[in-house]
Amino acid sequence: MAKQIVILGGGTGGTMTANRLRRRFDEDEAEVHVVDRDDRHVYQPGLLFVPFGLTGVEDIVRPRARQLRKGITFHEQAVESVEPERDRVLLEDGTALPYDVLVIATGARLQPEETEGLTGPGWNERAFTFYTPEGAERLRQALDWFDGGRIVVNLVDMPIKCPVAPLEFTFLTDWFLRENGVRSRTELVYATPLDAAFTKPVASEHLAGLLEEKEIELVTELNAGEVDGVGGKLIGYDGREVDFDLLVTVPLHGGAEYLERSPGLADALGFVPTDTSTLQATASPNVFALGDATDLPASKAGSVTHFEAEVLTENVERHLAGKELVAGFDGHANCFIETGFHKALLIDFNYDTEPLPGHYPSAFGLPLLKESRLNHLGKLMFQWVYWHALLPGRDIPGIGPEMPTRGKKLTART
C-alpha cells in the first residue's frame, strides 16, 4: 500500500518539500498531502517593499494549490492538533489524516498581543508592522502621509523571521524619506534588544557603520515590555522610554497554536524541538520539521528553509526505507540585505561560521558584506527564482545545502 506523507503548512517549506517528495516517489509508493488553512501563498520577502509602494500586496500573493505538482492532494483546512502516539492529524472540520511520515512546516505565528498595549489604541494608526500583508498596506498609507517626526523601528525579541528585515526596513525608510524630502524633519531610530545592530559580530560592525553613515540612531538592549500607542511611547522592562510619532514593530514570534494542543511536539514558545542536522523532530522518529517552525539555532529564513528541504526529503526517503538518516544540515543561511539607494549587501553563514567578507558562492560571485548594485538586483530577481525554482524544488547549480568556504576571507576574524 502507498505510504502516507502528510505535510502541515503550504508555505515556503511545505511547498518545496511536497514537490521534492512527489518527484522522489511514484504515486503508488507514496501519497503526498499538504494542509494549509488558506489558499494565499505570500512571497514574504516582498512585504519589505510594500510600505514604500515598490510593490503591491496583490503582486506577491499566489494561490497555494497552483504551486504544487500534479499528484499532491491539497487540503484547505486549519490543523486542529496532531496525535503523535496515534500517527494522525486532526483537521478543524473533524477529518483525521493518518500518516506514516509527518512533516511540520507551519512556520511562525506573530504575537503582537503578547506585548502589553501594542494591539490597543493606536495599533495600525501610530503603531504598525510590515510582517503581514494587511499591516504592510496600512503602513504604506501612513508613510504616504508622513510629514516628519520621530520614527522608531523596533524588534521586540528574537527569534524573528528574517532577522535582517527590520534593519533593511530602516535603511529603506531613510532612502524613502530622502527621496520625498522629509528626511531632514525626521529622526529615525533603530531600537533592538540585542547588544549590537545584528546578531553576528563581523556583520554587526558593518551594519552599525551603515546606520551611522545614514544618521540613524541606534538604541541597544531595549527589551520592549509595553507600548503606549496614544502617548507614543515604547517602554522597556528596565523602565527606559523611547518616544515615537510612528512605531514600526516586529512583534514576538511563536509557533503555530495547534502545536500547543499536540502532546510533546513543541517547546514553551511553540517551536518544534528538532535535530540540528537530520531535521527529525525529537518527539518521534516519523516526524520531521523545517523552516520557521523549528527550534533550530539557525535564521528563520527562506534560504535556510530551502537548504533544509534538500536534507529533509532525503531523510524522509531514508526513514521510509529503514535506512540511517544523513546529518546533512549545517545551519547554512544566506540573505541579501537591502540598504537603500538601489544597493544591497549579501551575507552567508552557518551554525559555526559567522558572515564573512568575500564573494558568494565562489571567488567570482556576488560580493559579501559589501554594498553593491549587483546584490540589489539579486534581491529583486529573487521573487522569480522563488516561484520558478525554489518552490518547484529544482536545485540551483552551484548552490547546495552546505555553506561554501571558497571565495571567503576566512581569516578575517576568529
Binding site: T199, Y237, D267, A333
Partner: protein
C-alpha cells in the same frame, strides 16, 4: 579566557566574567558574582531563576531565552527585570556559573 579567584575558588572565566566550566561553580561563587553585579543578597526568587537556568543548561546545553524563562520558570518577565536589572538572562547565567547565552540568530 583566564583563571581567576572567586570566593576563594579558582575558576575559568571568559572576557566578560562568565564561567566556562559549570562544574567549577558553587553557591558561594554565585553570591560573590551577584554582589559584584549589584545584587547584594540573593533571595529565594533569585535562586529559583538561577537554578532553573543552570538545570536547563546542564540538561540541554542551551540556556533558555528571557521569554522562555518567563513562561517556564514561574517568574514573569517583569519580575525577572526587577530581580536582575538590565539583562536577566545574562545575569542569571553569570550567577549560575554557565556560559554566556548565545544571542539568537
Amino acid at each position: 579566557m583566564a583563571t581567576t579567584l572567586i570566593a576563594d575558588a579558582p575558576v575559568d572565566v571568559d572576557d566578560e566574567g562568565f564561567l566556562t566550566d559549570p562544574a567549577q561553580w558553587n553557591e558561594a561563587i554565585a553570591e560573590a558574582i551577584a554582589r559584584e553585579n549589584g545584587i547584594p543578597q540573593l533571595t529565594d526568587r533569585h535562586w529559583l531563576v538561577v537554578r532553573f537556568m543552570r538545570e536547563r543548561y546542564l540538561a540541554t546545553g542551551m540556556a533558555p531565552s528571557i521569554r522562555a524563562l518567563g513562561k517556564e520558570s514561574g517568574v514573569p518577565v517583569k519580575e525577572l527585570y526587577e530581580l536582575f536589572p538590565k539583562g536577566p538572562a545574562k545575569l542569571a547565567a553569570k550567577i549560575g556559573g554557565i556560559p554566556k547565552p548565545k544571542g539568537c540568530i
